[in-house]
Symmetry: C2
Subunit: 227 residues, 2 copies
Amino acid sequence: MATTTARSPRKSAETDEASTRDRILDVALQSFAELGFDGASTRAIASLAGVNQGLIPYYFGTKDALWREAVDRAFARLGEAVGVSVQEAADGSSGERLAVLIRRYIRFVAEHPEFVMMMNEEGKRDGERMQWITDTHVRPIFEIMTRLFEGARDEGVLPTEIGVPHFHYLFVGATAALFHQAHECRRLFGVEPTDPRVVENHADAVVRLFLGDPELGRAPRDPQETA
Amino acid sequence: MATTTARSPRKSAETDEASTRDRILDVALQSFAELGFDGASTRAIASLAGVNQGLIPYYFGTKDALWREAVDRAFARLGEAVGVSVQEAADGSSGERLAVLIRRYIRFVAEHPEFVMMMNEEGKRDGERMQWITDTHVRPIFEIMTRLFEGARDEGVLPTEIGVPHFHYLFVGATAALFHQAHECRRLFGVEPTDPRVVENHADAVVRLFLGDPELGRAPRDPQETA
DNA sequence: GTCTATAATTAGATAGAC
DNA sequence: GTCTATCTAATTATAGAC
């Protein structure tokens, strides 16, 4: 159990040798998101990664440890793409910074629907995995978002009558549902949620809905542009 | 496979004899919603219903057929609680009728989070079950909702710039996330989503967000009151 | 590092007693 | 109508060859 046999991430002396482990992690996140922890079998994950099932215990020890590493990677990518902590320190009004965050987050979710699928998958159950995600990854982000919500409320761009928990779930729900339910959306509306125009329209809609001004946060397309 | 051995729903000549089947369906929906189709085992469902595993093939034939009947029941309950088709024919402006629908739907979801959990569970995959739900249950409701959205837009209470598919997912996402992620919400905020005050606050917040006027649709608490 | 083989467990579905 | 017992298949994890 304690013999996790952790590999050092820096292993590729030649070209790209250490990619098997990463490939497994990528398909694992996708599989866990789509099928849930129980529904995703390590055999199927290994097969999708083009390797044998025996490699998964070898690299990660247990299925649970594999899941944890896959989730860590997902949040690392979210951090890079959205830059919550960086954006908090940026200049501009809270409303403007919130709008930038909303737009970046929507683009991230559009590109990585598996992130929201995984979050919804675990957030609905009261198990160890939900508690671990909440304590390890969600709470730090939520604290920054709360300050931003309250700042925007003080500026008068967010209605004061709506409490922070309501804002939080109104926001994450309204933002992600289109991309989480992508297959349903295609069948029901014939709309492709990953279409860049659809993504930008959704970002505009969310900013308009919450902040009123649809021009807010329009400029920066990339996290690096404001850094 | 074709020998489904369907029971007639009306069987109870005495007091309440035909309740075993219904009990199985109730715990099945709950289990499928929480754990997904694969994660929920027929043994666990039977155990929760207080019966033997062998009874499930007896009543429903296959696990898939059990799932279908459980979903049918869920949508039947939604129809009773919200009364979409009834409400469409009611008098009042489209905005007013939409607000009534929003409030009823939120109360329904608060009481039956398993409904949204099941919808999210299936809507994220492109499988037979998603297609069946969409064609059988979602499309009829969506068509009524679309007319209501467009009516409210013509009245000027909904922004014209936001397209119907965006509205649809903004709405279902913003409405349901709080109750879908109930366990996360308890751990993160210490807020109990099923608390009636929290439910009404959320309904107020959604109506305010989409329709501006938080007083809209406040009066009727029960579907029967307007019938 | 990647594979094959396999052990131990659990899944859904069937057969048949009562 | 409900149960026990059992069949077949699939699951995670382990042992060990190369």
